[in-house]
């Protein structure tokens, strides 16, 4: 077949006639900018232009593209393309970036057909393209901006991607240096910051670039940031997470900026002092007379030098005594608007290398078939048909299932479809999600295995004395991360015995432990390349039985002859679990005759999560209580005299994992719903009731007051509209007011969300707003429709986006984010808004309909759109 791709005629073997165009583009033509998301036409990450029209390449047999023009992200050009990409860049649209080649091509196709689309047209056109990070509001704004740019005059210059800096292993000398592991100034003037925290869309690389440029007095544009790893030396891991004591490298708990704030400002200040010392030495002037601005050192004598000119000399000097970060009164970048994400240009251009894009000479690609029930094992395999498929090189039974190895992904996938496996269910989880829920409820009612985590005052007496009470059970389902990039990994055993692993892991240390255990080698013989993640939300915190394990198992089974890349199918990703745990809460609360909250008793049943995270579990699972289950419940922002919190550790075969906002994703639903229910029972206004409980939490109180003010709390609304409110002390201090309306079929439309946040100093306010927006939409998908269903006999029913709906552009409400000025150190924002969505919506629905929904997702009870 002859295809016309990006303006060039290319010959493709006829055996690919029925292969989806996506895989011919990626694996035959090496065009990796087009992404795989679902393989079923649900997500449009695979969007290309065919004869100018946005088309899903995963649903297009290659033979059907013959005689047409195919344009991928790599080949798209022209004024509309440049206007779209420029608007994407300037509006900080991108987060993880995985879906953005597809999004931008869809937008190009829209603007080619309609130069000035209105919101409704944009929503309709773009609703095929899923974005798990929730960048929709910015996409809509960027399309309007691009349309305006094209009307106003010449299109902007094309964006160009910089070369991604190589990350080498640190030498012992470099590791011992206070600056080198974190910041290097190259002789071309590029400043590379080595990020101990993985970039998975949350914007930490841009945050680091900002504080490094600030403290160095460098040109922000000259800073590049890369994921670092392999920092273990005699004195520990130089990339150990500073917020948890520096013991090992892990990204999570939204603590990246909180931890990096100290480390990277100090390293940059030290680098700056060393540059000044080098200039002073070269010019024979006192160091105090050196001035630095925008990457240039100057002296009153007229002498000047760039960082690049002095970098090599500076690196030989010790760090001058007393080098310290600036006082914030001197900040030029931190806290200011205007920073554009450092990672967005390569992501927009499809040049960023995600794990799926890893390509190593001689590499084979594997896909793994996992059992249809958790805990089932292989009974027998008939792989004759699979092995007969062209391009299939091996079928390998592994711990997690059966791997089919092929020359390309499409080969392996054809082999997987031809594979026949009988499963042994004797050890499998056979309960359906309904049966599992019933068992959670039974346990929360009996309390037979409950462990008390906190007990203040006398809850039982206070409840007995209460004038009004609430006794309610709240339940939440299993949830998947459903990142746009399915979980992938690659490995290669080098001739020197070092096992290289490519993974967008949140913890390179876990990868080293995991891979070395499977390979039977020393942990330090594993070298980790941390690829940028196409979303994570906690998924890549796994420490075992994940694609890293699978890749190493397969490579070992094939005698280390080939580098192996494991690519997860969307269905297989759902079948390996690592879900947010199902959770059931019972809250009994009471108020006195003045309507004051006097007693709050919360009981939780959920499968523990922290137990799956090495080291973390040692401090987070203590005395039978999993803090990753109780967080948000055991530490509410409210001062309550009589308070008890108990938890029960549920047992099942279903693997759980941290999921964006961890325990707060369920505990706050119960807490904030119950507070509102009690307000109703006691005849109190929900804001008034919360206000008096927040006397000891002035920052949370301020967020609550401001949210009420901005959203017009208490002001009359038209018929069939209502508001709900919640507040939280999770990570920072926040409050959410959500406005909804009821249509004539009694369905709920989410109209507006006002979110107020005090997260301390905001390094980049626009990126903080982006995280809040994305978190709200992540929370909305979960609250409204999110649920992984296990059917009769425990069969995993939910396997793709058709049964696990993610909010699409046409259902995105108006979102207003207000940041409170603060001089406190930065706190996390990546997860901060997620927990608020469900309870605020529940409170609004109760206010509007009188129906209190205590079971998520809401779609079980009422339609939300």
């Amino acid at each position: 077949m002859e295809l016309l791709v990006n303006g060039a005629a290319v010959e493709v073997d006829d055996r690919h006639a029925k292969t989806p165009l996506l895989w011919v583009l990626r694996d035959v033509l090496g065009l990796h900018g087009t992404k795989f998301g679902c393989g079923a036409g649900f997500c449009a990450a695979c969007t290309v232009l065919i004869d100018g029209r946005n088309t899903k390449s995963c649903q297009t047999a290659t033979e059907r593209a013959v005689g047409k023009t195919v344009t991928t992200v790599e080949g798209a050009s022209g004024p509309v393309v440049d206007a779209v990409r420029n608007a994407w860049h300037e509006r900080n649209v991108v987060q993880c970036g995985y879906c953005q080649p597809g999004q931008t091509l869809a937008a190009v196709s829209l603007l080619e057909s309609d130069p000035s689309p209105d919101d409704a047209k944009i929503d309709e056109w773009m609703s095929g393209n899923l974005c798990r990070c929730g960048t929709y509001p910015r996409i809509r704004a960027a399309i309007h901006e691009a349309a305006g740019t094209l009307v106003a005059g010449p299109a902007p210059e094309p964006l160009t991607a910089f070369q991604e800096p190589e990350v080498g292993r640190l030498t012992p000398e470099e590791m011992a240096d206070p600056v080198h592991p974190y910041i290097r100034i190259h002789d071309d003037g590029t400043i590379v910051a080595y990020s101990s925290q993985i970039e998975m869309g949350q914007g930490i690389h841009t945050g680091l670039a900002t504080i490094v440029a600030e403290e160095l007095d460098a040109d922000f544009e000259s800073v590049r940031v890369v994921n670092a790893a392999n920092g273990t030396g005699p004195s520990g891991d130089v990339y150990g997470n500073p917020d948890i004591g520096g013991a090992f490298q892990i990204t999570g708990a939204s603590n990246s900026m909180k931890g990096a704030w100290g480390r990277y400002r100090l390293a940059a200040a030290q680098a700056r002092a060393r540059l000044a010392a080098a200039a002073a030495e070269a010019w024979k002037v006192p160091i105090a007379e050196i001035r630095i601005d925008n990457g240039v050192l100057r002296h009153a004598s007229g002498r000047q030098a760039t960082f690049a000119e002095l970098a090599a000399q500076a690196e030989r000097l010790p760090v001058p005594e007393g080098a310290q970060p600036k006082d914030r009164s001197e900040y030029k970048l931190i806290g200011r608007e205007g920073r554009l994400r450092v990672d967005s240009v390569p992501k927009i251009l499809g040049a960023t290398r995600f794990t799926i894009d890893v390509s190593i000479p001689g590499m084979l690609t594997a896909v793994v078939l996992h059992p249809p029930r958790f805990g089932a094992t292989v009974a027998s395999i008939d792989d004759d048909a699979a092995r007969a498929e062209p391009g299939v090189t091996a079928v390998v039974p592994i711990e997690e299932g059966v791997a089919v190895v092929g020359e390309t992904f499409a080969d392996a996938q054809r082999g997987l479809r031809a594979l026949s496996v009988e499963w042994d269910d004797s050890e499998a989880e056979r309960r359906s999600s309904e049966e599992l829920l019933a068992e959670h409820v039974r346990l929360v009612e009996s309390g037979e295995k409950a462990v008390v985590a906190r007990n203040d005052g006398d809850v039982d007496e206070a409840l007995a004395d209460a004038a009004s009470t609430v006794d309610a059970i709240y339940s939440l389902p299993y949830l998947a991360h459903a990142t746009m990039e399915p979980n992938n990994a690659a490995c290669r055993m080098r001739e020197d015995g070092v096992l290289e692993v490519w993974a967008s892991t949140e913890s390179p240390e876990y990868v080293k432990m995991n891979a070395s255990a499977v390979a039977g080698i020393d942990k330090e013989e594993v070298e980790v390349h941390v690829t940028l993640a196409g979303g994570s939300f906690g998924l890549h915190s796994s420490a075992e039985r994940d694609p890293v394990t699978e890749a190493v198992e397969i490579a070992r089974a094939l005698d280390w002859k080939h580098p192996i890349k494991v690519q997860s199918l969307r269905e297989e990703e759902f079948k390996v679990g690592r879900y947010r745990a199902m959770a059931v809460h019972r809250v009994r609360a009471g108020a006195d005759s003045d309507g004051r909250l006097t007693a709050f008793n919360q009981e939780i049943v959920a499968e523990p999560t922290s137990v799956n995270l090495p080291f973390v579990r040692d401090v987070m699972f203590t005395d039978g209580v999993d803090f990753f289950t109780t967080t948000g419940a055991v530490d509410p922002p409210y001062a309550i005299e009589n308070f008890r919190l108990a938890s029960t550790n549920f047992e099942s075969r279903i693997p759980t994992m941290v999921w964006r906002s961890v325990g707060n994703s369920h505990t706050e639903f119960a807490r904030e719903s119950a507070i509102d229910e009690l307000a109703g029972a006691a005849g109190r206004d929900p804001v008034d009731l919360r206000r008096e409980l927040l006397a000891g939490s002035p920052r949370t109180l301020r967020a609550l007051e401001l949210a009420a003010e901005y959203a017009g709390w208490g002001s009359p609304l038209p018929e069939r509209r209502s508001r709900g409110i919640t507040c939280s002390g999770f990570l920072g201090h926040s409050a959410n007011v959500t406005e909804i309306s009821l249509d004539d079929r009694e369905r709920v439309h989410v109209d507006r969300i006002v979110f107020v946040l005090d997260c301390g100093i905001t390094v980049n306010p626009d990126l903080v707003r982006a995280q809040v927006e994305g978190g709200l939409l992540f929370g909305l998908s979960a609250a409204a429709w999110g649920e992984v269903v296990l059917g009769d006999g425990g069969e995993i029913v939910t396997q793709n986006f058709d049964r696990y709906p993610i909010v699409r552009m046409r259902s995105v409400p108006a979102i207003e984010v207000h940041l409170i000025d603060s001089t406190e150190p930065p706190s996390g924002v990546g997860e901060v808004s997620v927990p608020s969505v469900a309870p605020t919506l529940a409170n609004a629905i109760a206010a509007l309909t009188g129906t209190r929904i205590r079971r998520l997702p809401f779609s079980k009870t009422i339609k939300i759109y």
Partner: protein, 66 residues
């Protein structure tokens, strides 16, 4: 594969189609599909003729007339 064609409109959701049926595009090419599959009923799928789950997130009323 079941030997008889069945089309079931699911509640506020897609048509579930099973059985031996050919799916043919206006240009005459046959669209491949699994034995049982979901066809868009709300009109808003971006994956027509198949369902992509969008019906669940929008204002679609699938109440049958009879």
């Amino acid at each position: 594969m079941p030997d008889e064609v069945t089309i079931t409109p699911s509640e506020d959701g897609p048509y579930i189609v099973s059985g031996p049926v050919r799916l043919v595009a206006p240009d005459g090419h046959e669209i491949e599909h699994p034995d049982t599959y979901a066809m868009c009923r709300c009109g808003h799928s971006s994956n027509k003729p198949f369902c992509d789950g969008t019906h669940a997130t929008i204002d679609f009323d699938g109440t049958l007339a009879n």
